[in-house]
């Protein structure tokens, strides 16, 4: 499969994530959309990784493996972020009983 397909796919997913962030007000869903963006990135990374590997496969190298490891680290970070993020959202919910990002609007101008 050509790499462009993956690029388009990943970008599409990425942009859907962005649209989600833009269009929704529920903090959790926004957060999920961000996860979606990260996954788009992951997908693209793996694709690139395979691409680089394919280019160098003849030499039997391990080219491209960094890409996949990067994905691994992204997952790690994502997990950490999720824990913190959900903690913050829960904290907010505890105080306001809402997860609407626009509900809290004291800081402005």
């Amino acid at each position: 499969m050509l790499i462009e397909r993956y690029i388009y796919l990943a970008i599409a997913l990425f942009c859907i994530g962005i649209v989600g962030v833009l269009a929704r007000r529920n903090a959790i869903i926004i957060f999920m959309c961000i996860e979606l963006m990260l996954n788009a990135v992951n997908l693209l990374l793996v694709a690139f990784s395979k691409m680089h590997h394919a280019a160098a496969v003849a030499k039997g190298s391990t080219a491209g493996i960094e890409g996949q490891l990067f994905v691994f680290f992204i997952m790690v970070v994502a997990a950490a972020e999720v824990s913190v993020g959900l903690a913050i959202i829960v904290m907010m919910y505890r105080n306001t009983h809402s997860v609407d990002v626009n509900f809290l609007n004291r800081l402005k101008h």
Partner: protein, 461 residues
């Protein structure tokens, strides 16, 4: 490497401190002493004493630039601990954890000042960011703090996504995350490379709160407990710059011409929005957060100019800006009223506070005989030396003039207006320390060559 390991260990130590002792002074003392140790370790590192010999496999690359920055950042943090450590107690009960988080942030700073792989950059930035999200939201009952944390977190993650996309695109082109590989042969800007560059530019702009990616800054700074704002607005922010300039010099240094205009546009916008918006603020704290955006605009000059003067200047700027801002925040922390009116008549009741504060503000405004002047001077001369962006220099000085407007509003409030007497408790040592810092600011303003010489001797060892 010393710094990274020791700061991480110190973070863990602080955690355990929290478990084993309830005495706040003890915790604070441990933190202060630990940080002092960290500074010493880092300085020793510069001098060639490496405690840990780890094969970093190209993931990190230590150079004097980064190490020197570390020293400054740690020293600033140390001063910050001394000045404002006591005020952390007022935020919440988890004092030890706060210190631990700050140490983790310092670890992240040490990483971003030495990364040689985009992976490490990513991790470093995350290590800086995640504790900050928490510190921002650490005043749990305060809705403002909640809000700030939420905003900061959502937007921060969003920018992380953008950065990752940028890294990925770079990887797609170059097949590696190692900066040495990426740098090699970057002479023309191909579309994917350009897209990656832009996305990274956006993400890093976000971290240093450059316009138009600054929106989180005022809210997050305003909402978070002031004591942490002080930390975020100074040390963390300049760390972002170190990462920024390291990344762009390392990866795209040779194609500088092609993105210079873009950087210049962002710089100009940052200067403009930061300064203009700060003018009309009613709260000094919020004014300072806008001012931090404005100062970021000046620091961005380093990115635009991208020469040796600029790098020296950035270090100097980091020191000057951090010192002054930490000082002001330390005073601000003692106030109950953060509006400009709160400062009315401060000079009468607390002449020392007012005088030192004045020196800090003058420094931020870039008046000669303060460190801030040289900071601006270096940035301007870097940009002038570059020669392509004279318009930006003009914008810069005009904005500097605007900045005088809001900094001096504080001075006016302190000296020329009478206000309600406000109870401000300050200890003798606190005042003494402020005076020392102010003296340092002035000394650096008169004899900048001390610091500059350090820079030089390191650069041209």
């Amino acid at each position: 490497m010393n710094a990274i390991v020791i700061s991480a260990v110190l973070g863990v130590v602080m955690m355990f401190c929290g478990v084993f002792t309830n005495s706040k002074p003890a915790v604070r003392t441990v933190a202060v002493i630990g940080l002092l140790g960290l500074i010493i370790a880092n300085v020793l590192d510069m001098g060639g004493y490496h405690f840990f010999n780890v094969n970093v496999r190209g993931m990190l690359a230590f150079d004097v630039f980064g190490l020197l920055f570390n020293t400054i950042a740690f020293a600033a943090t140390w001063i910050y601990f001394l000045l404002s450590g006591r005020d952390m107690e007022r935020v919440g009960v988890n004092l030890a954890e706060y210190f631990a988080l700050i140490f983790f942030v310092l670890c992240g700073i040490a990483i971003v000042s030495a990364f040689n792989s985009l992976l490490m950059l990513f991790l470093g930035i995350e290590i800086i960011s995640i504790p900050l999200y928490i510190l921002t939201g650490s005043d749990k009952r305060n809705l403002k703090s909640n809000e700030a944390a939420l905003k900061y977190f959502l937007m921060g993650s969003f920018s992380t996504g953008i950065m990752l996309m940028g890294i990925t695109l770079l990887y797609g082109v170059k097949g590696s995350f190692n900066m040495d590989v990426i740098r090699a042969g970057s002479s023309t800007l191909t579309p994917m490379l350009a897209a990656g560059l832009l996305l990274l530019l956006f993400a890093m702009s976000f971290k240093v709160s450059a316009v138009p990616f600054h929106f989180w800054t005022p809210d997050a700074y305003d909402g978070s407990p002031t004591v942490f704002t002080s930390f975020m607005a100074t040390i963390v922010k300049v760390a972002g710059f170190i990462a920024f300039i390291r990344l762009f010099e390392g990866c795209f240094g040779e194609m500088h011409k092609q993105w210079q205009l873009l950087a210049a546009i962002i710089t100009a916008a940052t200067l403009f929005i930061g300064n203009i918006t700060a003018v009309f603020q009613q709260s000094v704290k919020r004014m300072l957060s806008y001012s931090s955006i404005a100062q970021a605009g000046f620091m961005l000059f380093a990115l635009v100019a991208m020469n040796n003067t600029a790098k020296e200047g950035l270090i100097f700027y980091a020191a000057a800006y951090s010192l002054a801002t930490i000082g002001i925040f330390a005073v601000l922390l003692k106030m109950k009223d953060y509006t400009f009116e709160g400062f009315n008549g401060l000079a009468k009741r607390q002449p020392v506070l007012a005088a030192t504060n004045t020196i800090f503000l003058l420094s931020l405004a870039g008046i000669p005989a303060t460190a801030g002047f040289w900071a601006k001077f270096y940035m301007l001369s870097a940009a002038i030396d570059n020669g392509n962006v004279m318009w930006l220099v003009i914008v810069g000085v005009l904005c500097a003039a605007i900045s005088v407007y809001y900094y001096f509003r504080v001075i006016q409030a302190m000296y020329f207006k009478d206000g309600e007497p406000q109870e401000i408790e300050t200890s003798r040592s606190f005042k003494g320390l402020l005076i020392v810092i102010a003296a340092a600011v002035v000394l650096l303003g008169i004899f900048p060559h001390w610091l500059i010489n350090q820079l030089y001797s390191f650069f041209y060892l």
